[in-house]
Symmetry: C2
Subunit: 259 residues, 2 copies
């Protein structure tokens, strides 16, 4: 008898966020769902892991029909705990999200949601991170659920290749307004930071990190930013080989000549 797919779900907004609840609901159509998610919001944690302190996990009844654990660590810790300690076997899929807010372009590198998906890929599990371009706690995930389902179905059928995970972003639109899916690349862009300087009651300065995202490629039509601006769901195949292969020949002068 073939086992049902085992689907690991995590996120960075915490185990009780509406976005992960929507993803659990979709994933249950495809197999057994196992949730290991942070016990508190962990946005912006990137690929952080907990090595200078301890990790705790607690069983949760948040998702009837799914085994669920809350974890004191980062999103990447959640995947490590799941794969190496909590799961009964290697999962078929690792899903992260649905994030409340965009993870397109350079945001992939800061995102706990995408870092968890990337950690799944590092562990050799087909992994997908989902994000909706709506930060609100009251965000409407109905269109997201439709597209999550399409993309999970595709992935279970065709896979995505070794060492790859998918970065999926969904525009803040009604499902009828979304034009479809575009497989594309990460746009070049950055955050123009505005460090918001304030003074505490004792007269000492402190800062809030804030800013605006700036797209450097306003004319490119093959990027995630373009796809989203034009009403498409963006899917960027992403990888953890960070080598700038094109730059190796240019630096060859630095290598000690081989004897």
């Amino acid at each position: 008898m073939t086992q049902k797919p085992l689907i690991l779900i995590t996120n960075d907004d915490g185990i009780h966020a509406p976005g992960i609840s929507a993803l659990v609901e979709v994933a249950m159509k495809f197999g057994d769902v196992f949730v290991v998610a942070p016990d508190k919001p962990q946005s912006g944690m990137g690929h952080a892991i907990t090595i200078n302190s301890t990790i705790r996990v607690h069983k949760s009844n948040a998702y009837p029909g799914a085994e669920a654990w809350s974890c004191s660590g980062t999103p990447v810790d959640c995947v490590k705990m799941a794969v190496n300690k909590l799961l009964p076997r290697k999962p078929t899929l690792c899903l992260s999200g649905i994030n409340h807010g965009a993870n397109h372009s350079i945001n992939i590198i800061y995102s706990g949601t995408m870092s968890a998906a990337m950690e799944g890929a590092i562990e050799g599990i087909p992994s997908i991170g989902f994000s909706l371009l709506d930060y609100s706690i009251e965000a409407d995930f109905s269109a997201s659920k439709v597209y999550c389902e399409k993309i999970i179905e595709f992935t279970l059928k065709y896979g995505m290749g070794e060492g790859v995970c998918l970065n999926v972003n969904i525009p803040k639109l009604h499902v009828d307004e979304i034009k479809g899916i575009q497989v594309c690349r990460q746009a070049r862009g950055t955050w123009e930071e505005e460090l918001d300087e304030r003074t505490d009651p004792s007269g000492r300065n402190y800062y809030w990190l804030t800013g605006k995202f700036k797209n450097f490629e306003t004319n490119a039509k093959d990027t995630d930013v373009f796809a989203l601006d034009n009403g498409f769901v963006s899917v960027v195949p992403s990888q953890f080989d960070m080598t700038a292969h094109h730059a190796i020949p240019k630096l060859e002068k630095l290598s000690t000549p081989k004897k």
Copy 2:
């Protein structure tokens, strides 16, 4: 009159670590040094940024002859604070390290040291992360200093290309034993986790994240792991475009056909 190079230095082991002190000493030969480094150890913080709490900075007299600030945030926060608030102008170079411990292969993604260098590259600054394969607080940085100097000199002369930063790892050897420098790629490898389970005095379980690095490419000769195992300093040009470009055509079936 040409201005002297302005060199931003950060790390993830904290402003008082011996490794950053060694790097400041080398960098002073090339220009004006400006240090913004974490006020406590921030190893394994990856590309985390502080968005759910505040950031504080304090002027430090740790490095006579250099302006220095300690920062309550992550290594990436340090670069953002430096570039957007503390530095008098855009720096010529951003250096991170010298890390106490290896950042070869997949470790780049977990490393606060390398994430700080990557953030420098995102900000458009030629950036280098340096790591010595010795975790000890009493590590000998004398060989590291020789190779940091060579690589900084090369970078100031030739650059490294847009969107690229260098991931430099130095073997734990006497300078006379090091065979030279190899420009190479990130080896495929992973951590085989062992979650060390313990019981606290109240009888509740907790975990320490630990494990062993495993190189998947034991026969490859063009990787950082091979270079280091053979007595070379490894230099991997690295980038923040995480798109798996090779995977885009394979996923084309998922795209909604263009009308």
